[in-house]
Subunit: 720 residues, 2 copies
C-alpha cells in the first residue's frame, strides 16, 4: 500500500471509529461529494472565496464556508480578501465590491430584507459566483442555499436565482420546562441547560442556530406554553439573554411564553385582571425590563384559559382583553403577541372542535395590530388527520398564523417514521373559499387574502438532547420540512424529501428512491394503522401512547375516546353535520358542500363528519366495517414493506444510522400491529361482525390490550 | 503540498469538524500515539495479533484490538489465526497454544478467576507478548490493561505482570428512575431508555460496558434505591434482560433495587411482612422468574426503612429479617442482597450519625451468608469530608461493603472539578483498629480481617445522557478512579490521575503536570470553600445546591443545617464526644483517642467532633473564627489558580474540551465565592467578629444570599 493511501485509510478507520455517525450533524454534513465528476466540476470552479462583510453574521458565514467547502470538495478552498480574485463572493448588495454587477441589478429588487440572490458572473473564466442579500442575514440564507446546491449535487454554472420567505416569522415552539423535561418531547431532555446558563454556552446552542438558519427559521419560543412565570424573573432573563446573544448572528429572535398570572406569581399583585392599572403597569415594566436584556426580543406566546392555564376569562374578560394587555406592553419595542386559539373552558361543549371558533370569531377585529392568533392546523389537537381549522378564513380582520406539531405526540412518538410535509401541506393547500376559490390556508396566513400586518408560521419542535436531536433519524426531516415550508409553502413534499435525503444521507439514486418511497407514503400509512377513515382521538389516555379507543369515564367527556368515535351497535363516527353538532357550519358554504353528505365526503374525513352504520357501503364496494379492517391490515403490511425497503439499501448508509433506523422500524411495526389488533377487536365488540376472510385474527384478546399499561411513556410527568 | 499529506490533512480537517471532541470516548480514545519514538517501538514490535478463544467475550476483545491497535500505532496491525506467528497472543491460560510458556507457569498461580497475566516471551525476536487469564473475562481485563500500557506510553518489553481484583463485586449504583430522571444526577437524563427497550439497543449500552470492563467494574444496579416495584414486572424484566444480554460478554452482572413493599404493590398481597409465608413464597417465585430472564442476575440492592422507603420495621421486624427474606429467595441461584445501612426512622435521634450503628450492631451475625451490608463511607451522608463509618470494624460477623458517591451531590454537582480518589482513599486507609493497628477499612471490606464470604465495593454513578457521560470532563476521572480502587485500593490517587490524564487527554508532560496539580488538590480545596474544619451538612435544602447554613425549621431537625453546625454566640461545631452525643463511642478506643480532645483532633475533623468557642486557638495561632475565614478565602483563591493553570495548557488540549472545562471552572469559581460569602456572613452573625484584615468583605448582604432560590436545580423532581 502506498504511504499516502495508508495514511488516508488509517485516518478513515480512525474517523469511523471516532465518530460512529450519530446523526448530530443533521443535514449539515458536508461529507466529501461522492460523485467524482460533480466534485471535480465544483473543485475546478471554486478555488477561493471572499467574504465582503464584517459582522457576527458574516463571521458565521465564514465559519460555515471554512467547514463546508474544503470538506465537500476535498481540497483546500482558500479565503481571499480580494473580491476580484475570488471565485465565490458573498456580501450585501450595496457593497461596492458587488453592486457593479449587472446580474445583481436584475435580481435584487425581487427580494425582501431576508431574501438572497445567487448568480454566476457572465463571461468570468473559469467562473465566478456571487451571493448577496439586502442584509447580512439575507446573505447568510444565501450562503446556506449555496452550500445546499453543492450538497445536493446541483449544477452551479449559469446560476441566476433569488428567493425570499413568504412568511415573516418562522418560529419553533419548544414545549420545554425549566427542569429540562419536555412536554410531548420524545428525544431526551431539553437542550436548554437552564441550570448552567448563562455561564456555560453549550456548543449545541450554536449548532441549533446553524441548523435553523440553514432552513430559514428565524424565531424560537424557548419555553412551554404551559408556562412558568419564573422565566420572566431576572435570574432567568439573564439565561435567556445568553441564548439570545448566541442566536442573534444567525438571525434568530427569542420569544418566551408569558404566564397570564405572572403579575400575581412573581409580581406580588393581587390580580392579573387585564383592566387593572397595576397589572397593565406591571406588564409594561416587565416588557421594558426584558428589552434591556434582549433588545430584539421577539415577544410572547400565550396559552390562556385552556387546560387549566390562567387567562383573562378568570376575570370575566375576553381573549382580546388579555392579548391586547400584553400587546400594549410590547408595542413600543416592536414585540408581538402570539395568542393561542387552542382554548377550552371547563364547560364541555357539544363538540370540542367548535370551541375555538366560537370564542374567537366574535372577537374578530378586536385584537391589536401586534397580536396574532396562533391556530392549530386542525380544530381538535394535532391528530394524524384533521380537516383544516375553521378559523382559517373565519377570522378576516385579525392576524392569524398556523401552529403545526413537528413532535409526534399523536403520530407514534419518536420511533415511528412519519414524514409530515404531506400533513403540513394538506392544511396549507386546503381552500377556505373565504374570498372565493383559491383562498387557501397558505394564502390566508401569508397575508395575501387580508393583508395582515404580521405573518407567522409555528411548529412545535421535536428537538431534544438525543445525539441525533430528534430521536428518530427521520424525525430530522420533519424539522427540516417545517422550516422549508415556512419559507415557501409551494415546495412539494417530494422536493423537500429529495433535498433532505441528499444532504442527510446520500446522493445515491437507489438511496434516494428508497427513502423517498418510505417517506412520502409514511403519513398516510400511519393514519391507516392508527385512525383510518377520519377516526380521531382514540389513543392512550394522558401519555397518548398506543391505542386507547376504550378510554372512557374521565373527568371530562372530551378527554375520552368514546366521545370522539361514538361507536355503538349501529355504527361509528362523529356527526358534525346539521343533524349532529353542526361544527361543519363554521366553514364557508363551499367547504361545507365537500363534507356535508357522506356520499361526497372524501373517505379520509368520513368518520370525522359522519356517524355511519357498520354496513354502510364504501366506494370500494366493501362495508364500512370491512373497509376499516382492510385499512388497518394493509397499513401494517406497509410498515413491513418499509422495513424491506430499508434493508435493500444496507451498505449504502453508514452502519450506525442504518441499524438505528432498522431498530426503530421494527418498533414501528410492532406498535402498528398493536394499534391494528386493539382497534379492530375493540370496534368489533360494537360491529359484532367477523374480521373479513383472508385477514389473520389478532393473537390476543381485547382484554389483553385494554390491560396494557405504560406509566412511564415519555413526554409527560408521570402520574403513577 | 504532496498528495499524501493533502489527503491526510483534509481528512484531519474533516475529522476535527465531524467529531468536535465531545468526550464521548472517555479514556478509551486510542488516538495515534504522539511520541514518535514510542510509537515506532510499539509498531516494530506489534505487527499482528492472535485471539486464542471463541466466545462473545473474545469477540469483544477482537473488536477492541481492531479499534485500538491500528489507531494507536497508526499502522495496520493484522489479525492472524496463528498463535506462533502473532506478535501478540491473548487467550485462556489452559489453551494449548499458550500453556507451554514457562513464563505463564510462573505467573498463573498468582491470579484468581478474574485476574490476568501479561508477559514477554523470552528470546522471541523481534518480540512476542502473551496476555492470559484463567477465564475469558480475565483475558478481557488483560486486553484492556495491555491497551492502557500503550495509551500511557509504558515500555512493553520484558513484561512480566499479573493482577487480580482485591474485591469480588465492583458495582455501580445508578439512582435512575423509570421515567429517565436521575436522582442526584447532574449529567442529563438516564442512559437507560426504558421506553424503547428491549427493541432498541443503544450503542451507548455497549460503550458503557466497554468503559466499565476497562476499569474492572463487573456489576451494575440499574435502578434507584428509592425503588419502584414496577421494574420487577415482566414488562420491565424483558427490558432488564436486554441490558443484561448486552453486558454479559463484558463480565458485567445486572442487579436491581427491590422495593420491600413489592409483594403488595405488584403482587396483590395484603402484606410485605417478612415472616408471612405468602410473602416468602412471592419473593421465591419472583426470584425464580427473574432468573429465567437473566440466568446470571446479580441480586438485589435494598434501601429499607429510610427516608420513607418501606421495610421490615413497618411490620415490627428487623433489618436482618428483611434482608434474609430476600437472601433466601436468591440463594438457590447464587444471588446476593446488598442491604443498605443508610437508615433512619421517624424518631429524630440525639445524633443522626449514630443511627446506622445503633440499628445494625445488635444484628451483627444475624444476616445470611449472601447478605452484605452496604455502608456509606461516612456516618452521615456523602459530605465533602466525614470520618469513616463506625460500622467498618463495628460489624465483625457480617459481610460489609462501602458505598461511595461518585456523583457529586454535595460536592458541586457536575460543574465543580473535584477529583475524588483522595476522598475514597481517606476512608479506605482509615484504621478501624478492630484487630489492632492496620485494620484499615480497606482490609475490613476486602475480607482480610474477618474472612467475609462476599466482598463488594459500590459507587453511586455520575453517569447520564450528556455527550461526555458525566457533565464535567473531569467527572470521568471519578468514575475511572472508583473502578481502579475497587480493583486495587493500594493504587495512589496520583498514579490513577496520571494514567487517566494520559489516556483521556495527553501524554504531554506539561499537560500531565498541570492537570495532576489541579486534580490532586481539588477535593481539599472544595472542602475548604464549602465545609472547612469538619463542618458538614450546611448546603441548600432538598436540592443541596449552594450554601444553606441558615436552613432551619424543617419537618425534621436532622434535615436542617443548624442541627449540624450548632453555631451560637459562643462557638460552633457538633460535640460528638462524651460531653455531647458521644457518637465517638461507636469507634474503637484507639480511634476515639484520635478525636476525643480538640487538642489532638486533626483540624479537618475539628467541628465534626467538637463545639468550640470562636476564639479557640488553632495550630496556626489564629482564632477559630479567623482560621475559618482564611480557609474560605484561600480556597476560593485556589479555584482562581486552577483557572490559571488550565489556561496555561491552552492549545495542548482540543478546543472543545478546553473551552468546556474553562467554562465549568468559571462556574466553580463563582459558586465557591457564593459559598464563601454566604457562609462567612452567616457565621459572622454568631461570632460577631470582623472578617480578618486583608480579606475583602463580601459584596452583598447575608440577606441577599438567604433569599437566593434555585427551584430547578438539577437532580431532584422539583417541588415548586
Amino acid at each position: 500500500m502506498k504511504r499516502s493511501w495508508l495514511i488516508a485509510s488509517l485516518l478513515l478507520i480512525f474517523l469511523s471509529q471516532a465518530t460512529a455517525d450519530n446523526g448530530y450533524r443533521l443535514w449539515l454534513r458536508y461529507d466529501r461529494i461522492a460523485d467524482e465528476a460533480t466534485r471535480g466540476a465544483y473543485a475546478t470552479l471554486l478555488r477561493s472565496y471572499c467574504i465582503q462583510g464584517n459582522s457576527k453574521t458574516f463571521e458565521v458565514i465564514r465559519k460555515e464556508f471554512e467547514l463546508g467547502l474544503p470538506s465537500l470538495l476535498a481540497q483546500p478552498v482558500g479565503y481571499t480578501a480580494s473580491a476580484t480574485e475570488a471565485s465565490l463572493v458573498i456580501g450585501i448588495a450595496t457593497d461596492p465590491a458587488l453592486n457593479g454587477y449587472e446580474e445583481l441589478k436584475a435580481l435584487i429588487n425581487t427580494i425582501d430584507n431576508e431574501g438572497f440572490v445567487i448568480f454566476s458572473v457572465k463571461n468570468a473564466t473559469p467562473g465566478k459566483i456571487v451571493i448577496a442579500g439586502k442584509t447580512d442575514i439575507g446573505a447568510l440564507y444565501g450562503a446556506f442555499h449555496f452550500l445546499k446546491l453543492l450538497q445536493t449535487n446541483q449544477k452551479i454554472t449559469n446560476l441566476s436565482l433569488s428567493s425570499s420567505p413568504k412568511i415573516k416569522i418562522r418560529i419553533l415552539n419548544h414545549w420545554d420546562n425549566l427542569d429540562r423535561t419536555v412536554e410531548r418531547g420524545y428525544a431526551g431532555a431539553s437542550i436548554w441547560d437552564w441550570h448552567k446558563l448563562p455561564d456555560y454556552i453549550d456548543t449545541r446552542y450554536h449548532d441549533y442556530a446553524r441548523a435553523n438558519a440553514s432552513i430559514g427559521i428565524n424565531a424560537t419560543v424557548l419555553t412551554n406554553v404551559n408556562a412558568n412565570a419564573l422565566v420572566l424573573t431576572p435570574m432567568y432573563l439573564e439565561k435567556v439573554k445568553a441564548l439570545a446573544d448566541v442566536f442573534r448572528p444567525y438571525g434568530i429572535k427569542v420569544y418566551l411564553t408569558a404566564r397570564f398570572s405572572a403579575p400575581v406569581e412573581i409580581g406580588g399583585l393581587k390580580t392579573a385582571d387585564p383592566v387593572d392599572a397595576d397589572v397593565q403597569a406591571w406588564w409594561k415594566n416587565k416588557a421594558r425590563e426584558i428589552y434591556t436584556y434582549i433588545p430584539d426580543f421577539g415577544g410572547f406566546v400565550v396559552k390562556a384559559n385552556s387546560e387549566g392555564q390562567p387567562g383573562p376569562q378568570n376575570y370575566g374578560r375576553t381573549h382580546a382583553d388579555g392579548a391586547n394587555l400584553l400587546a400594549d406592553a410590547l408595542l413600543p419595542y416592536g414585540g408581538v403577541v402570539m395568542w393561542r386559539a387552542f382554548v377550552y373552558d371547563n364547560k364541555v361543549p357539544d363538540d370540542r372542535t367548535k370551541q375555538a371558533y366560537n370564542e374567537f370569531k366574535p372577537l374578530d377585529g378586536k385584537f391589536k395590530s401586534n397580536v396574532i392568533i396562533q391556530v392549530k392546523n386542525g380544530p381538535l389537537d394535532f391528530q394524524p388527520r384533521e380537516p383544516f381549522h375553521p378559523l382559517f378564513g373565519g377570522l378576516t380582520k385579525t392576524n392569524i398564523m398556523p401552529e403545526f406539531q413537528i413532535t409526534q405526540e399523536y403520530l407514534g412518538f419518536s420511533t415511528h417514521l412519519a414524514y409530515l410535509a404531506p400533513l403540513f401541506k394538506e392544511c396549507l393547500e386546503a381552500d377556505t373559499y373565504v374570498k372565493g376559490k383559491g383562498s387557501t390556508v397558505a394564502n390566508v396566513i401569508g397575508g395575501e387574502i387580508f393583508k395582515n400586518q404580521v405573518t407567522a408560521f409555528a411548529g412545535v419542535a421535536n428537538i431534544g438532547s438525543d445525539f441525533n436531536w430528534t430521536g428518530h433519524h427521520f424525525g430530522q426531516a420533519n424539522w427540516y420540512a417545517f422550516g422549508r415550508l415556512a419559507w415557501d409553502h409551494q415546495l412539494t413534499s417530494e422536493a423537500i424529501a429529495d433535498e433532505w435525503i441528499r444532504m442527510t444521507f446520500s446522493n445515491d439514486a437507489t438511496c434516494i428512491d428508497a427513502m423517498k418511497s418510505m417517506m412520502l407514503r409514511s403519513r398516510e400509512m400511519l393514519v391507516n394503522y392508527m385512525t383510518p377513515l377520519g377516526l380521531h382521538h382514540i389513543m392512550g389516555y394522558n401519555h397518548h401512547y398506543g391505542p386507547g379507543p376504550w378510554v372512557a369515564g374521565k373527568a371530562r367527556q372530551d378527554w375520552t375516546s368514546v366521545y370522539y368515535h361514538r361507536a355503538d351497535s349501529l355504527g361509528v363516527g362523529f356527526d358534525r353535520t346539521a343533524s349532529g353538532s353542526n361544527a361543519l357550519e363554521q366553514y364557508h358554504p363551499e367547504v361545507r358542500k365537500q363534507f356535508a353528505s357522506a356520499k361526497v365526503c372524501p373517505e379520509e374525513y368520513l368518520l370525522w363528519f359522519h356517524h355511519l352504520p357498520w354496513d354502510y357501503q364504501m366506494k370500494s364496494g366493501k362495508t364500512l366495517w370491512d373497509d376499516l379492517c382492510f385499512r388497518y391490515y394493509k397499513a401494517v403490511g406497509e410498515v413491513s414493506k418499509m422495513e424491506d425497503t430499508w434493508q435493500r439499501i444496507k451498505g449504502k448508509v453508514d452502519e450506525d444510522r442504518f441499524n438505528h433506523v432498522a431498530a426503530f422500524l421494527s418498533i414501528q411495526r410492532k406498535e402498528a400491529e398493536l394499534w391494528r389488533d386493539a382497534c379492530v377487536l375493540y370496534f368489533q365488540s360494537f360491529s359484532r361482525k367477523p374480521i373479513p376472510p383472508g385477514l389473520p385474527k389478532p393473537a390476543r384478546s381485547l382484554e389483553y390490550y385494554m390491560k396494557l399499561s405504560f406509566p412511564y411513556a415519555p413526554g409527560i410527568k408521570p402520574e403513577w
